[in-house]
């Protein structure tokens, strides 16, 4: 208050001779003050926005690490398991071939006419052939805001990744497909790496569909699997611009890609099967012709726009920045026009020859190019859908994503020259401003746009980013504590900010500004020293458990969940005991942690909430929800209220549970002891057993609260939708 008075005097410094305040000077001072203050505020928000962005990017990559984990795990299974009879089922489940029905069967199975739409349904009803008005209704019904619908004059290319982001994936897909049907020549959908059913299992699209379509969900998913596999991999505009979801590599061969039987690759996550003789890609020129004649869509991953008129105008619009970069001789121009004319007149059947001619510098291709193994093709596809650019020259495998590669400006240069192209447009990564030029402006990335502003939405996003970050920190608790203790050799339990930041970076490798973030992540420091044990308590899980086991399972929870969902082949949301047991065993062998048969059995028995020999996957995964202790206040008071109003059944618990609760700081309990078994058992028992289906989260929290006794340990989730998975929350 004192300082306020002094400063006020400053305002009144300038008087005229009569002792009157000079308004102008005053006003100016006031204005400057407000401006100074506001600009500071904006800057602070900007930094928060930036690091929220950084967090998401790091998480994205670390999430991708999860994908690698999954992939590695599958590989591990293949390499190391000669399955015993009990394991054989599970493994064959995981690797079973997707039954792609024969065409006639397929037609019948997927026939939409067989699906009854009840009269009470009040949403948009579509009839075929679709027209624009219906699509507009559809879009309106989904409340999407679109800037200009596709039309004859406004062709669109959508560059993949339509699903697994946000909660409206299926709506987006429907709109895109509807446009495709209405304007087949003006809307192009490229395949992205998320148009892949295994990725969908991991990132939430599968869940979304099953939730929204309780009766037909499984069928829809199967159909989508097929559709995704048919989506083109690459689109080339006017022989000049290549549009692809991921990118290229130094071995990307467009003519090979044009020949690939792309629908064989239902998922990029499964390594190619050994090809049988009948399914190899032995293409001789004559066969190419035949194939193309009979089925327009089975070949040709490259699609060309319609007649010259509209194409020209499109070209003008999309390439206006680059026309100056085009240096062509007159003859070249004429040749190109000739081909374009030829193409439009001759129709699709001759496209390949023209394509091959225009794309490859050699006129004759080696015969070897026609005998490609599945593996080569698979690599090509992976490269197209998964690669990322880098600023250095060269081409190296993309370790982070586990597929595709990093390619440099020299590769771009070479590729464009070889294929007579001007520009590559790709997506696959987010850019803050929505787009960015790289590789000497030869390449332009488009992706998520910067939609964050100073408003509430930024704070919400930041909140989410921090929540995710806290989860990561918790998942690495043991490693972090070891790292902290490198600095705190006497194990006092205190660590300086610098050391805290250094240790975290050493363990997590997220390359985030920890000093900037520490304000958000740590609530109590005294004398600039952090009590790290207390800090971890704040980050704790619902219930302290057997830490190493839980941590490991927690860290791999997404892999675990994905495996569950793969195993749940009919997408019912449930898996059998046996499969559950097998999965845990396999996972524990892979992670090299001991889960004894006993432990697994205990878990199994306690997770059967329906008493029908099956386990609800959602319920099980709910046990791993991380709760941020500092946000419990609201939950806690709500809980107290509920408590007062109801008589709560006390969960039967052993004294060991209480003990374990007290010893939550024990660093590495032996997983084999009955103590930890007990704790693990109760963890799942408590969190999964609920009398009513209303507010299951609250119920669980209630029982936990009662068991642990002290208010300190109550861990209550924010009472939001009980069954959203963390992997869905990550992408909004």
């Amino acid at each position: 208050m004192g300082s306020g008075v002094t400063k006020a005097a400053e305002f009144n410094k300038r008087y005229d001779r009569d002792g009157n305040v000079i308004p102008a000077a005053l006003t100016m001072k006031a204005a400057v003050m407000i401006q100074r203050w506001y600009r500071q505020y904006v800057a602070r928000m900007e930094v928060r926005r930036r690091y929220t962005w950084n967090i998401f990017q790091s998480m994205e990559y670390s999430d991708l690490q999860d994908q690698i984990k999954l992939y590695n795990f599958l590989g591990y299974l293949v390499d190391n398991f000669t399955p015993s009879s009990s394991e054989r089922n599970l493994i064959s489940h995981i690797f079973r071939e997707n039954e792609v029905c024969r065409d006639a069967e397929w037609e019948r199975y997927f026939s939409y006419a067989n699906i009854e739409v009840p009269d009470i349904y009040s949403g948009p009803r579509l009839t075929f052939p679709l027209d624009m008005a219906q699509v507009a209704n559809l879009a309106e019904a989904f409340k999407n805001k679109q800037n200009g619908m596709p039309s004859l004059e406004k062709p669109y290319i959508f560059n993949g990744d339509y699903v697994d982001r946000g909660k409206d994936s299926i709506e987006i897909l429907l709109i895109l497909f509807a446009f495709l049907l209405v304007y087949p020549g003006d809307v192009y959908l490229n395949r992205g790496n998320h148009e892949d059913h295994i990725i969908n299992l991991r990132y939430g699209f599968t869940k979304e569909v099953l939730k929204k379509y309780k009766m037909h969900g499984k069928r829809i998913l199967k159909l989508l699997q097929k559709i995704f596999s048919w989506l083109p991999l690459v689109t080339v505009i006017d022989h000049r611009v290549l549009v692809v979801h991921g990118g290229i590599s130094d071995s990307t061969d467009l003519s090979l890609i044009a020949r690939v039987d792309r629908h064989k690759y239902v998922s990029a996550m499964r390594p190619p099967k050994k090809s049988s003789a009948s399914r190899t890609n032995l293409y001789r020129p004559a066969e190419v012709q035949d194939e193309v004649m009979t089925s327009k869509n089975s070949q040709g991953t490259l699609m060309f726009p319609k007649p010259l008129g509209s194409r020209d105008s499109f070209q003008r619009r999309s390439l206006q920045n680059f026309s100056s970069a085009i240096t062509r001789t007159v003859e070249e121009e004429q040749e190109i026009r000739r081909r374009q004319a030829e193409f439009s007149l001759s129709g699709f059947s001759r496209s390949h020859q023209i394509l091959s001619l225009s794309l490859s510098s050699e006129v004759e291709e080696d015969s070897s190019e026609f005998t490609n193994t599945d593996k080569d093709e698979w690599k090509q596809i992976l490269d197209l859908l998964w690669s990322d650019p880098m600023s250095q020259d060269g081409c190296i495998p993309n370790e982070i994503r586990g597929g595709g590669c990093y390619w440099g400006p020299d590769v771009t240069e070479d590729f464009l020259n070889r294929n007579n192209l001007q520009l590559i447009i790709r997506s696959h990564e987010c850019k803050q401003d929505g787009y960015e030029f790289c590789h000497n402006r030869k390449y332009q990335a488009t992706g998520m746009t910067r939609g964050l502003s100073l408003s509430q939405s930024m704070k919400r996003t930041e909140h989410m980013a921090l929540k995710v970050l806290r989860e990561q920190l918790f998942a690495h608790k043991s490693d972090l504590i070891s790292a902290f203790q490198e600095f705190d050799k006497e194990k006092i339990g205190l660590i300086s900010l610098d050391h805290w930041a250094a240790a975290i970076e050493r363990v997590l490798h997220l390359d985030l500004p920890w000093h900037v973030l520490h304000v958000q992540l740590v609530s109590n420091t005294s004398d600039n020293l952090l009590d790290y044990h207390a800090w971890f308590r704040d980050l704790a899980l619902k219930k302290p458990g057997c830490e190493t086991l839980m941590e490991a399972l927690y860290r791999h929870r997404s892999t675990m969940e994905t495996i569950f969902r793969i195993v749940d082949t009919d997408n019912s949301g449930f898996i059998t005991f046996e499969d559950f047991r097998q999965t845990l065993k396999l996972l524990s062998a892979y992670l090299k942690i001991e889960i004894s048969d006993e432990a697994v059995n205990e878990l199994v028995i306690n997770t059967d909430t329906n008493n029908d020999g099956s386990i609800d996957i959602d319920e099980f995964m709910e046990a791993f929800r991380l709760v941020d202790k500092s946000r419990l206040e609201r939950g806690r008071s709500q809980l107290k209220l509920k408590q007062e109003n109801q008589d709560l059944p006390q969960e039967g618990q052993t004294p060991q549970t209480a003990e374990s609760a007290a010893s939550q700081n024990v660093q590495s309990p032996d997983p084999k002891t009955s103590d930890s078994l007990e704790t693990a058992r109760s963890l799942f028992a408590d969190s999964l057993h609920s009398d009513t289906r209303d507010f299951p989260v609250l119920q669980r929290a209630k029982s936990l609260y009662l068991q642990t006794g002290t208010s300190q340990d109550s861990k209550i989730d924010e009472c939001s939708a009980p069954k959203t998975s963390d992997s869905c929350d990550l992408h909004t």
Binding site: A31, I34, Q35, R44, L454, H515, V516
Partner: protein
């Protein structure tokens, strides 16, 4: 011993803070930032410089031949000095309130959007159209269509962690 620890730690932590803040804007990871982001970086470290003061700092930081980028080697010492000398101290909530009260010459308790707009775009170190629009969108009470500056100031300063 305790003093030495503190002094060294303070400098070390200050350096780390500066480094972190710098890195957030170092898009190419080559220890340079766009000169236009310097203001944001300095402010993110808790300082409240005026535009004029910023200009001076930037002039000091730029190369002899301005490249449009500022290198970390130059930024670090300058910024360390600023932080250790506690320059450009924060504007308190009280002070801010008084500033608004000065503008509210009729002592209404609120400001009309037009009024504030005029002041901020014509007086002092004028806002750009974008800046003033952004601020007004947060400041204007949607029901009454005026700026209840007391509430506004309280709301905005809640975010202040430091």
């Amino acid at each position: 011993m305790a003093d030495k620890y503190n002094a060294e730690t303070i400098i070390s932590e200050t350096h780390k803070k500066i480094s972190n803040a710098f890195d957030v804007f170092d898009h190419e990871s080559n220890k340079t930032v766009d000169v236009r982001e310097i203001g944001t970086i300095i402010r993110s470290l808790g300082c409240y410089p005026s535009e004029a003061e910023l200009h001076d700092i930037i002039a000091e930081l730029e190369e002899e031949e301005p490249t449009g980028f500022v290198r970390y080697e130059r930024f670090l010492p300058t910024m360390t000095k600023i932080l250790l000398e506690r320059k450009f101290r924060p504007i308190t909530e009280d002070l801010l309130l008084q500033a608004f009260e000065v503008l509210d010459q009729q002592k209404k308790g609120y400001l009309e959007p037009e009024e504030l707009n005029r002041y901020l775009t014509q007086e002092g170190e004028p806002f750009t159209q974008e800046e003033v629009e952004e601020m007004l969108s947060a400041a204007v009470d949607p029901d009454k269509n005026v700026i209840l500056y007391k509430d506004f100031v309280s709301m905005m300063t809640i975010d202040d962690h430091r």
